[in-house]
C-alpha cells in the first residue's frame, strides 16, 4: 500500500469497516495507557522525583479506564477490538467480557494501592533502578492478559509481566533476592515453555489461536483430536503459574525476599493471572475436557489448600506465612474450577477477586509490622497492638477476611464453593475447604496473638505514628473486603453473570464474529 491505489478493492472481505467508537477503545486503552506511561517514565531519567507522581496518577487513570470498561461491558455485553482492523481470526482480537474486566479492574485497584504504598517503601535507589516503569509495564502485562482474546497473545502478556516481575524482584540486588529471583525465574520459565508447547499443539490441532474461534471449533474436533492431552498441558502450565500443589514451591521460596510492596503486588496479581488463564481456557474453550480432568484438579486443589495452610502454620516469618496462605487460597480457586457449574466457577472468580485485595493488604500489613517491630519473625516481634491500634485493627480485619469469616469478603466465595462441592457430592472437597479455612484462622490468629497481643516488656509504652501513604492503602484494602462482605449483592450478581457468560459464551462469540462472521 505504498502507492495510493486508484482501482477500488473490496476491503470488506479482509477489514473491519465500521467506524470504531471511543467505547470500543476502552478494550485496548488499559494496555496502551500503561505502556505510554511506562515508556514516559523510562525516558525521564533525571527528574526521578516525578516518577512517583506520574505513576500514581497513571494508575489512578488505569482504575478509571477499567471502571468505565466494566460499566460498558456490564450494560452492552462483551466488546471486541481487532488490532490493525483485520477481520478475526486473522487479526489479533482483544475481547473484554465481564470476567476479564472484573479482574482488570480489581488488579488496577490493587496496583493503585501498591503505587501509593510505594511512596513510603521504595527509596531513591529503587526509583533510579526503575521501580515505577517496571510497575507500569507489569500492569500492561496483567491488563493485557485479562483482556486479550487470543491464546498466543495471552502468552505474550505472560512474558511481558514475567520480565517486569524479574526486574521488580531483583530491585536492591541483595544476595537473597537474587537467590529468590533465580528460583522464581527458573520455574516460571519452565511453566512458560509448557504454555508455549501447549499453544503450538493447539495451533496444530485447530489452525487458529483466536479464543472465540477455538471455542466454536472445539465441538467439531472433539472426536478426532487429543483435546484432553492439550487441556492437561494447559492445566499443568497455568497451575505452575498459579502455584498449585505439587508445583507450588517456588512461591514461598521467592515472595519474602523483595521489597514489601513488590511481594504484595505479586501476591495480589501474578498467581491470579494464572487462575484467570485457567478459568478462561478450561471453562470457555474446553468445558468437556475440564469435566474429564475434574477429579485430578479437585484433588490438586484440596492438597494445595491443606499443604499451603500447613506450611503457614509451620513458618515464623511474616511474609513466608503469607506466601503459604496465597498458595492455600489458590487451592480453593482450583477446587471451584474443578467443581464447575455456576457455583464453582462463580466461587472461583469471587475468591480470586477477594484474594487479590486481601493478600495484597496482608503483605502491606506484614511490611508495616516488620518495620514497627524491627524484625520480620513473629517469634521476636511483639506488642504491635500497643504501638498502633488502628493498624492492629486493620490487620485483624484482613486476618478475618483471609480466613473466610463473616462479615468479610472471604465468607461468600467459601459458602459458594462449599455448597457447589456438596451439590456434586464431593464431601471430601467441602471438608478440605472448611478444614483449610479453620487452619487459616489458627495461622493468622497465631500471628496476631504473638506479634500484636503479646506484651513487649522491653519497649516503652508509646504509640508510633504511621505515615498516611502507608496507612491509607492498607485501610482501603481492608475496608473494601468489609464493604463487599456486608453488601455482596451487586458484585455477586455481576460474578454470576460473568460465570454464565463463560459457560455459555455465545455473547462472547457474537462480539468477535458478529452475525455468524466468517465461514
Amino acid at each position: 500500500m505504498a502507492v495510493p491505489t486508484s482501482s477500488p478493492v473490496d476491503l470488506s472481505a479482509a477489514l473491519v469497516l465500521g467506524p470504531t467508537t471511543f467505547a470500543d477503545w476502552l478494550v485496548i486503552l488499559p494496555v496502551a495507557w500503561c505502556f505510554a506511561i511506562g515508556a514516559l517514565l523510562v525516558m525521564l531519567r533525571r527528574p526521578i522525583g516525578l516518577h512517583s507522581i506520574i505513576a500514581v496518577a497513571g494508575l489512578a487513570g488505569l482504575v478509571l479506564i477499567d471502571a468505565l470498561l466494566l460499566g460498558h461491558v456490564a450494560t452492552k455485553g462483551p466488546v471486541t477490538m481487532v488490532m490493525g482492523r483485520w477481520l478475526p481470526p486473522f487479526g489479533i482480537a482483544f475481547t473484554a467480557d465481564l470476567t476479564g474486566s472484573l479482574f482488570a479492574l480489581v488488579a488496577a485497584i490493587v496496583a493503585l494501592a501498591g503505587g501509593i504504598f510505594s511512596l513510603a517503601d521504595i527509596n531513591d535507589s529503587g526509583r533510579r533502578y526503575g521501580f515505577y516503569p517496571f510497575l507500569m509495564l507489569l500492569m500492561a502485562g496483567v491488563s493485557g492478559a485479562f483482556l486479550t482474546g487470543d491464546v498466543f497473545n495471552l502468552y505474550v502478556w505472560f512474558e511481558v509481566l514475567l520480565i517486569s516481575s524479574f526486574g521488580l524482584l531483583v530491585l536492591g540486588s541483595e544476595p537473597e533476592q537474587i537467590d529468590g529471583t533465580v528460583k522464581y525465574g527458573f520455574l516460571n520459565l519452565v511453566a512458560t515453555t509448557l504454555f508455549l508447547v501447549a499453544t503450538g499443539y493447539l495451533y496444530a490441532v485447530f489452525g487458529t489461536l483466536n479464543m472465540a474461534d477455538i471455542a466454536r471449533k472445539a465441538e467439531g474436533l472433539r472426536g478426532g483430536a487429543p483435546l484432553t492431552t492439550l487441556t492437561a498441558l494447559y492445566v499443568l502450565a497455568f497451575g505452575m503459574k498459579a502455584a498449585a500443589f505439587p508445583v507450588n514451591f517456588w512461591l514461598p521460596a521467592s515472595y519474602h525476599t523483595p521489597r514489601v510492596v513488590v511481594s504484595a503486588l505479586f501476591a495480589g496479581l501474578l498467581t491470579k493471572v494464572g487462575i484467570y488463564a485457567l478459568i478462561r481456557v478450561l471453562v470457555m474453550l474446553f468445558p468437556v475436557e475440564r469435566e474429564e480432568l475434574s477429579f485430578v484438579m479437585a484433588l490438586a486443589g484440596a492438597l494445595t489448600m491443606i499443604v499451603g495452610v500447613l506450611g503457614a502454620l509451620a513458618q515464623t516469618d511474616f511474609r513466608r506465612i503469607l506466601g503459604y496462605l496465597v498458595v492455600s487460597g489458590i487451592g480453593s480457586m482450583l477446587a471451584g474450577i474443578a467443581v464447575g457449574g455456576p457455583g464453582g466457577i462463580g466461587g472461583a472468580i469471587f475468591y480470586a477477586l477477594h484474594s487479590m485485595l486481601v493478600m495484597t493488604g496482608l503483605y502491606f500489613a506484614a511490611g508495616i509490622a516488620a518495620r514497627l517491630g524491627g524484625d520480620s519473625s513473629i517469634a521476636t516481634v511483639s506488642g504491635l497492638y500497643r504501638k498502633n491500634v488502628a493498624f492492629a485493627a486493620l490487620t485483624l480485619m484482613l486476618c478475618f477476611a483471609v480466613s473466610g469469616l463473616p462479615p468479610f469478603s472471604g465468607f461468600w466465595p467459601k459458602v459458594m464453593l462449599v455448597k457447589a462441592a456438596l451439590d456434586i457430592g464431593a464431601w471430601w472437597l467441602a471438608a478440605a475447604l472448611l478444614l483449610a479455612g479453620f487452619c487459616t484462622v489458627i495461622a493468622t490468629g497465631r500471628m496476631f496473638l504473638l506479634a500484636y497481643w503479646r506484651d513487649d516488656a522491653a519497649a516503652a509504652d508509646e504509640t508510633v505514628q504511621l505515615p498516611s501513604a502507608v496507612l491509607a492503602p492498607l485501610a482501603a484494602l481492608s475496608l473494601l473486603p468489609l464493604g463487599v462482605g456486608l453488601y455482596p449483592e451487586p458484585l455477586l450478581a455481576t460474578i454470576q453473570s460473568a460465570a454464565a457468560g463463560l459457560a455459555e459464551p455465545s455473547a462472547y462469540l457474537n462480539s468477535v464474529f458478529p452475525a455468524g462472521g466468517l465461514q
Partner: protein, 139 residues
C-alpha cells in the same frame, strides 16, 4: 584498543554502518529489513566505536542515556498505535499520508513510526547491554 589502523577506520565504519542501519530500517516496509535488524546494525556500529575509542566517547556521542532512547522508542510505538483513535479505526491500524516535499511525494505512515520505535528500543536496550559489558571488560 591500541591499533592505529582500527582507531582510524572506526569512525568511518561507524558512520557508514549507522547510515546503512537507517537504510535497512526504511527499506523494511516491503522488503527484508526493518526496525529490529536495523537497530542491531546500529548497535554494532556503536559497539565498534566503543571498542576503538572507549565507552565514554560513545556515551557522549549518543548524548541520551541508552535506556532513555529505548523508552522513547516504546513511546513512539505506542503513539503509532494510538493515532488511529483519531481516525476512528481500531488500534494499530496503518494510516498513510502522502505529503509532497520539493515536488517529491513521500509516503509516511504510522507503520513507519512504529518501526522507528522498534529501532529505537533495540538501539537503546542492546547498546545499554553492550556498553556496560565493554566497560567491565576494558579496564
Amino acid at each position: 584498543m591500541k591499533s592505529v589502523i582500527f582507531r582510524t577506520v572506526a569512525p568511518f565504519l561507524t558512520s557508514l554502518m549507522t547510515l546503512f542501519s537507517i537504510f535497512v530500517l526504511l527499506r523494511g516496509h516491503n522488503e527484508p529489513g526493518g526496525g529490529f535488524i536495523g537497530g542491531l546494525i546500529a548497535v554494532s556500529a556503536l559497539a565498534i566505536y566503543g571498542i576503538a575509542h572507549g565507552v565514554e566517547t560513545v556515551r557522549r556521542a549518543i548524548y541520551f542515556h541508552p535506556l532513555a532512547i529505548a523508552g522513547a522508542g516504546l513511546f513512539a510505538a505506542t503513539v503509532a498505535g494510538l493515532i488511529s483513535l483519531f481516525a476512528h479505526v481500531p488500534f494499530m491500524t496503518g494510516l498513510w499520508v502522502y505529503p509532497s516535499i520539493f515536488g517529491v511525494e513521500i509516503p509516511l505512515s504510522t507503520v513507519m513510526l512504529f518501526d522507528t520505535g522498534v529501532y529505537l528500543v533495540v538501539v537503546g536496550s542492546i547498546s545499554s547491554v553492550a556498553l556496560s559489558l565493554e566497560e567491565r571488560g576494558g579496564e
